[in-house]
């Protein structure tokens, strides 16, 4: 399996390598939803030693006044030879094309890549696209088939429900603080699902259940996907490693997906899950399916 997974400061690169992860996704300092102040150059060198690649997450939309800074940052990433950039703003792709930057480019707008034809068109200009999470498994497989080795799929991690420029938590708490990161969540007044919410200087990101694909991993692993993404940016290292173990175990036939799902639930019973194949006409969680 070609697995890309998130990296945050303190995560063990060796532990990821042992689990056959091929690349880490690190938050682009100042240009992503999380600003971990990771020294990406040093991380790149560490990764290189053990054969891991580095992708940089730039999951923001940028204002005109920031474009020069974005350009400088992309040139820096090119100089230190990261494997690629995962971006939300098409500006990143255009700057890389205009300036002849050599890293790989993956577009991940989260909600906009819902059909074969848009992905094909975008892949004329970039290396990969991450397919949206709000479409059916049937649609996902059609998109993958129509764009062989050009699609990535987020197979595990909290579903990004929305991205806003607004500072929702500050507004509600009447507080001037920009950042509310770890441990914040919403519960809709008539429901029980926890919806993690992250506010940074660049806005607010709201998440839903964690999407899980344990039942589908064998099929996805055999499909012409360019990479599978396990992205537990909101959760800790031990959860992330345990999740990767479960996917490896199911893919290798060591345990079946039902058993893996039971183990997944035991990792953190507070987390709500949505199964990839349940994203059809409805978005049911596993318990109510």
């Amino acid at each position: 399996m070609n697995i890309l997974t998130c990296y945050r400061p303190g995560f063990s690169l060796e532990a990821l390598k042992e689990r056959k992860v091929t690349a880490v996704i690190v938050n682009g300092n100042g240009f992503s939803s999380f600003d971990d102040a990771t020294d990406i150059k040093a991380l790149k060198e560490e990764c290189e030693k053990i054969g891991l690649k580095v992708w940089v997450r730039m999951d923001c939309l940028y204002e005109e006044k920031e474009i020069d800074d974005v350009r400088r940052y992309l040139h820096y990433l090119d100089e230190i030879k990261v494997e690629g950039v995962m971006f939300t703003d098409l500006a990143v792709n255009e700057i890389a094309l205009q300036d002849g930057l050599s890293f790989k480019r993956t577009y991940t707008p989260e909600t906009l890549l819902t059909n074969t034809y848009d992905v094909s068109l975008l892949c004329e200009d970039m290396d990969y696209c991450v397919i949206s999470q709000d479409i059916t498994l049937k649609d996902i497989m059609e998109i993958i088939d129509g764009n062989r080795d050009r699609c990535m799929l987020r197979i595990h991690g909290p579903i990004l429900l929305s991205y806003s420029k607004r500072h929702f938590i500050s507004a509600y708490l009447k507080d001037k603080k920009d950042e509310y990161r770890d441990g914040y969540y919403l519960i809709e007044e008539t429901r029980t699902n926890k919806m993690p919410i992250v506010q940074g200087e660049r806005g607010t990101w709201l998440y839903g259940n964690v999407l899980e694909s344990l039942s589908e991993i064998k099929m996805l692993n055999e499909s012409p996907l360019a990479a599978l993404i396990i992205d537990n940016n909101l959760y800790g290292e031990s959860y992330n490693l345990a999740v990767i173990d479960l996917y490896n175990a199911v893919a290798e036939g060591k345990i079946d997906h039902d058993e893996a799902y039971e183990k997944l639930r035991e990792l953190d019973p507070e987390i709500g899950y949505t199964e990839l194949s349940n994203v059809q006409e409805s978005w049911l969680d596993k318990e109510s399916a």
Partner: protein, 400 residues
């Protein structure tokens, strides 16, 4: 000098005609398929044909929204639909998908293609992508500030359109699936349940952070950019857009007239006078059913834009639609919308000119029965009017 375009929404043919008669330079609406705002009435193919004929007879333009974020199955019939729009003489489509843009350029090349705000374009580097695909106009994200807009315009020759009035998405448009997640209704395919306006409890770990007065919400106040009209008119944008395909004809008439007055005043006198501003402000205030703010045009990421404990309020100034006018008798048949009584002070709201105030005389049913208080919505009544009215006129209450 090229005049900026005033672009208005229309939920159906009647509202389209109202928007045009009240001064919109162009009108946008959705067909029965491929569009967002599925709860708006939307236009049949025959409606679209009539809309184009009507708009073009006034020298105005028609844009059709094909702005869903399509799934594979949504492409069925799309090519034929685009060809039909071209055949009818539609001026442009508004779309949010490169694949749809490409289809339009290939099979309906006379249609201009405008990139929807669903793509949330916020800088000139991103505009370059759409330019390479031969897009004809970009509808910018509503998150653009005036300063950012003024930085962008000198750096691109792409015509830019911005919103000036109406409902605001809490999130970057197109980048939100809260409705899908909570209600199974896909906002990017026209099913938005406005879950952002619901109430939520906010927690940090196990601690509830509810403030005791009202629950957390993502809901936004509506945009009203009246304070920014002069700089927007000076900025070089090609089109100023009003949101609200779900709104009533009276709302459309009032908002279009308000902005029309300001735009015309600017081009006639080089600035918007206080008198025109005040008249426009009053018109806009009368039809607001949510609090408004300037959107993101100011430089700060304002926390004033949020709205909590939201209850929609209906305008009480709108009393009746005019259905028919008899110039010989000086009477009009009106359709009741809000309560009023014989003897009330009311006014006629016409596309041009000031409101014409008068005291209502007798109210009569079409069968000639006298009515003291009109309190049956949709009832048709005959009244005497002091001036010429038309099917595009409204009867309003007079505010103290």
């Amino acid at each position: 000098m090229n005049k900026v375009e005033l672009l208005a929404p229309a939920g159906d043919l009647a509202r389209l005609k109202t928007a045009i008669v009240y001064g919109a330079d162009a009108v946008y609406f959705g067909g029965k398929q491929f569009s967002l705002r599925s709860r708006a009435s939307n236009f049949t193919n025959e409606d679209i044909k009539e809309a184009v004929e009507f708009a073009h007879s006034y020298g105005r333009k028609v844009f059709v929204t094909v702005n869903m974020i399509p799934h594979n199955s949504d492409f069925e019939g799309l090519r034929e639909y685009l060809q039909l729009l071209q055949e009818y003489g539609v001026d442009a489509i508004i779309c949010a998908s490169g694949a749809i843009l490409k289809l339009a350029k290939q099979y309906a090349p006379k249609l201009e293609v405008h990139i929807s705000t669903q793509q949330t374009t916020t800088n000139t580097a991103a505009i370059e992508y759409w330019k390479r695909l031969k897009a004809d106009r970009i509808v910018l994200g509503r998150e653009i500030s005036l300063d950012q807009l003024n930085l962008m315009i000198p750096k691109t020759d792409m015509p830019l359109e911005v919103f000036i009035h109406g409902g605001m998405c809490a999130n970057y448009s197109g980048r939100c699936i809260i409705s899908n997640f909570l209600t199974n209704r896909d906002a990017n395919r026209g099913g938005c349940a406005q879950s952002c306006r619901w109430n939520y409890h906010l927690y940090k770990d196990q601690q509830c952070l509810d403030n005791g007065e009202y629950l957390f919400s993502l809901g936004s106040k509506d945009m009203c950019a009246i304070e920014y009209m002069q700089p927007l008119l000076e900025s070089g944008v090609v089109s100023l857009k009003i949101e609200g395909r779900m709104k009533t004809a009276y709302y459309i008439a009032s908002v279009v007239k308000a902005y029309r007055m300001m735009i015309d005043d600017y081009y006639e006198n080089g600035k918007i006078s206080d008198e025109v501003y005040n008249k426009a402000y009053k018109l806009l205030k009368q039809v607001s059913n949510r609090d408004t703010y300037e959107g993101f045009y100011g430089n700060e990421i304002s926390t004033r834009g949020q709205i909590y404990n939201f209850v929609l309020t209906a305008s009480q100034t709108f009393l009746a639609n005019v259905i028919k006018y008899d110039p010989d008798k000086g009477t009009a048949v009106i359709e009741v919308r809000n309560n009023f009584s014989a003897g009330d002070r009311v006014c006629v709201f016409n596309p041009k000119g000031d409101n014409n105030e008068f005291d209502l005389g007798e109210l009569k049913t079409l069968e000639g029965e006298q009515v003291i208080t009109a309190n049956r919505p949709m009832q048709l009544l005959e009244i005497k009017v002091p001036c010429e009215v038309s099917e595009y006129s409204f009867i309003k209450g007079v505010e103290e």
